[in-house]
């Protein structure tokens, strides 16, 4: 048997043969080849993911389900997850991105949650590079067209430009849905004697073996053996959402599972394995778009906009009626049985048969060797004193604000409907995105962030910093972090140094989650992000969700008032390591990011939350990319006010103004509340920066610019 043709490794083949007690046939091998691909099986990372803390008071559903769920209070939960669609987006940017958005929405829907908000993480190559314009415009249009049509607002995101993504852009799609805790639909509750129902679009030859495709490096001449790409139909998805939620409200489904990678096989075997039942499927019952499809093609088709339902026979008629009303195809394709046998029939003949647990859990894990990169320490060398100070500070600040990764992303998010569903309190363009929940006081806040440059320099510290950035932003806004989801975008794990970097990143992220009691409730892994041109930067993307008890306890950004006192809270000495400033000046990423300080981070979050809740500040913003100077400039432009800032400098001016890292935030505080503010931050480094006044931004005598000349996102009124 030539198992390698199907992407199966020898030990995997042997494991399969042993579990079956016979030679697997071709159809089975094809199925295993896809189901045991990295994308579906997590065989290289499963054991690493165990390092993440995933328990907590507020965790309703942790990793292992379609998405995680956290408790928002009063019987309501937020289901959320982020997922990659990197490889498809590299090959067919528009369709790849669109189907990425559609896919994550179905993950959320599978829990019975109504999808209410999306965010997108975009990682593009250098702006001037040949393909970047085409890839970025296609991906952005794809995200927009799908999300807009399906009626789920895109409320925020993250966009990074770096040459390492030239050939291998990343698209990570995040979605969040709301569900009553007593109405969560599980994929683990099927019982023998129930019907397996396929709802949604017809099955065609789209994206067959797409999951396996996502598990190899991109090669230049991939054109020939490219799987036919999936086409998204947001119109069908919108109908599918409404139909599934209606089925759930009428309690007509026992269990539900979206069809993502590896289509019918993946979804049905997962339900069978998790529920502990067997399943018999008759593939001739599957509504097909192309008449002559072979069973393995039906098994692995990644046609979009389909859901798998488990239904009690007595409810079938009602289920069909709902499907008809929404003009969706709906067919019984099999039934659940006692035991754990999973078998596929085609025209009465058995074409594949194995224990249900084999496809999901049977793949032997791979422990790739890890080795600390030889040149890691070399990259830390950075003697700041040898760097010349900027000659023109105004110009430096202005250029920094125009750096692609820091510049306004308006051209992107203006293409996204960020307001549909009328819940968006703060949409894209703000440090955190905030939604209200109709009929309740509570607000949900969310952030998506990443810091690949620091992860590249020191993966442990960078991983911790990336997580910390999201939590700091939430805390400053007054949102108590409830949990996070992550997408681990990395190059091939088969390279020991790259594997080590990934492992350290995960450890760093885990350490920060632990320190801030922010558990990981869901996530996704995307490996093999490299091409002949090289590997991407290590890019863990973090999406963190928090809750604000009421509007009154939300602290906005960009709301300076004339006469307010400006403070920086947090350790005063940041670092130029991996900073946008250094990247801009030198075109090269170097230095050692700051050490991760768990107690300081926790202390920051505690005080920031209290600052927002007690209403002692007019405006607040965590300091992140571009450092303090960029944070000040953003607050000024958004507020439409200037400031005079002048303070003692404990280190080099550029380090303090443009350095990054650590738990820091910028607050503007009304004069009358200054004593309260100070007492709140007692025991934490606090630096008075100056005053909000006038229309000029003046910083320590070196920067002096009229605020209305700073690049700023649009302000209508």
């Amino acid at each position: 048997m030539d198992f390698r043709r199907y992407g199966i490794r020898e030990e995997e083949y042997l494991a399969a043969r042993e579990a079956l007690g016979r030679e697997p046939n071709e159809c089975e091998l094809r199925i295993l080849g896809v189901m045991w691909s990295e994308h579906c099986s997590y065989k290289s990372t499963k054991h690493l993911l165990k390092l993440f803390p995933n328990k907590g008071d507020k965790v309703v559903l942790g990793p292992g389900e379609n998405a995680g769920i956290v408790d928002l209070g009063d019987g309501l939960g937020a289901a959320f997850k982020v997922e990659s669609h990197n490889h498809p987006s590299a090959v067919a940017p528009y369709q790849g991105a669109a189907t990425g958005v559609g896919g994550i929405i179905r993950d959320i829907l599978a829990l019975g949650a109504r999808p209410v908000a999306s965010m997108d993480g975009l990682f593009f190559g250098a702006p001037g590079h040949g393909k970047t314009a085409m890839l970025s415009s296609g991906i952005v249009r794809g995200v927009g067209d799908y999300g807009n049509a399906v009626g789920v607002p895109t409320v925020g995101g993250k966009t990074v430009y770096d040459p390492s993504y030239n050939e291998n852009p990343l698209l990570n799609a995040f979605n969040l849905g709301l569900v009553r805790l007593d109405e969560i639909v599980s994929s683990q509750t099927a019982k023998p004697g129930q019907l397996v129902v396929l709802l949604g679009s017809k099955t065609g030859r789209d994206g067959i073996a797409g999951a396996a495709f996502a598990s190899v490096e991109l090669s230049d001449d991939a054109k020939a053996d490219r799987p036919s790409i999936q086409i998204g139909d947001p119109f069908a998805e919108k109908l599918l959402i409404e139909a599934c939620l209606e089925l759930q409200a009428k309690r007509l489904i026992v269990s539900m599972q979206d069809m993502g990678a590896a289509g019918i096989t993946s979804s049905s075997s997962e339900v069978a394995a998790k529920s502990g039942v067997g399943m018999v499927l008759a593939f001739d019952k599957v509504p097909l778009r192309a008449a002559d499809m072979e069973p393995w093609e039906i098994a692995l088709s990644e046609s979009q906009e389909r859901m798998l339902l488990i239904v009690e026979p007595r409810h079938l008629e009602e289920v069909m009626a709902v499907a008809e009303r929404w003009e969706l195809d709906c067919a019984v394709i099999g039934e659940t049985t006692e035991g754990d046998g999973y078998s596929i029939l085609f025209h009465g003949e058995e074409v594949a048969s194995f224990p249900a647990s084999l496809v999901g859990d049977g793949c032997p894990p791979i422990h790739w060797p890890a080795r600390k990169p030889d040149n890691l320490e070399k990259g830390w060398e950075l003697d700041v004193e040898t760097l010349p100070l900027p000659e023109d500070w105004n110009e430096t600040l202005l250029s920094l604000l125009s750096e692609p990764s820091l510049a306004s992303k308006e051209w992107i998010y203006d293409q996204y409907d960020s307001m549909v569903q009328t819940n968006t309190v703060r949409g894209p363009g703000h440090p955190v995105s905030v939604l209200r929940i109709k009929g309740r006081e509570t607000l949900v806040a969310m952030v998506l962030d990443a810091d690949p440059w620091k992860c590249a320099l020191d993966p442990f510290r960078g991983g911790a910093e990336a997580v910390a950035r999201t939590v700091r932003a939430l805390a400053v806004a007054g949102a108590e972090p409830l949990g996070l989801t992550d997408c681990l975008n990395f190059p091939s794990p088969e390279n020991p140094e790259q594997y080590w970097v990934m492992m350290e990143c995960i450890k760093g992220m885990a350490a920060c989650c632990e320190a801030l009691q922010c558990p990981v409730v869901s996530g996704n892994v995307s490996l093999y992000n490299e091409s002949a041109a090289g590997a991407i930067l290590p890019t863990p993307v973090i999406g963190t969700v928090g809750v604000i008890p009421s509007v009154g306890q939300f602290l906005p950004s960009g709301r300076w008032h004339d006469g307010d006192v400006l403070f920086q809270v947090g350790p005063c000495i940041p670092s130029l390591a991996g900073s946008q400033y250094l990247l801009m000046r030198e075109g090269r990423n170097r230095g050692r990011p700051l050490e991760f300080l768990p107690d300081v981070e926790a202390g920051f979050v505690r005080r920031a939350l209290k600052t927002a809740r007690d209403g002692v500040a007019s405006s607040g913003r965590a300091v992140a990319g571009g450092g303090l100077a960029v944070a000040i400039a953003r607050e000024a432009t958004e507020s439409g006010l200037g400031a005079v800032v002048s303070f003692e400098i404990p280190t080099r001016r550029d380090v303090l103004l443009f350095g990054e890292g650590g738990a820091r935030a910028l607050y503007s505080v009304p004069m009358a509340k200054v004593p309260l503010f100070k007492s709140l931050w007692r025991g934490f480094p606090l630096l008075e920066l100056g005053r909000v006044q006038g229309a000029e931004l003046e910083i320590n005598g070196v920067i002096s610019v009229p605020v209305d000349t700073l690049p700023s996102p649009r302000r209508i009124r």
Binding site: A92, Y94, S201, G204, D206, I231, A236, R289, A290, Q304
Partner: protein, 84 residues
């Protein structure tokens, strides 16, 4: 140098889901067009190109298709050239 009027017809490859065609077909049926068997929707692009010969105009049009107009993974196209 003559100006050539080039007509490009772009359609989805067979087997690729035609979301628009499907919706339009349904709508035409509901309007009573029962004799309709199928619908496929594509793009009709007209180019006006300066070139020395018909052949060169065609070649240029094909290059524009490859460069931008057509996504070869899901679409196929044909070209017709007309003198002006």
């Amino acid at each position: 140098m003559t100006a050539w009027h080039v007509h490009v017809y772009i359609q989805l490859k067979d087997g690729v889901l035609d979301t628009q065609g499907k919706a339009v077909e349904r709508s035409l049926h509901s309007l009573g067009h029962d004799s309709l068997q199928a619908v496929k929707i594509g793009k009709y692009v007209q180019l006006w190109i300066n070139a020395d010969s018909e052949q060169s105009a065609r070649q240029q049009a094909v290059r524009m298709c490859d460069d931008l107009l057509v996504n070869g993974i899901i679409e196929q196209f044909s070209v017709e050239v007309e003198g002006e």
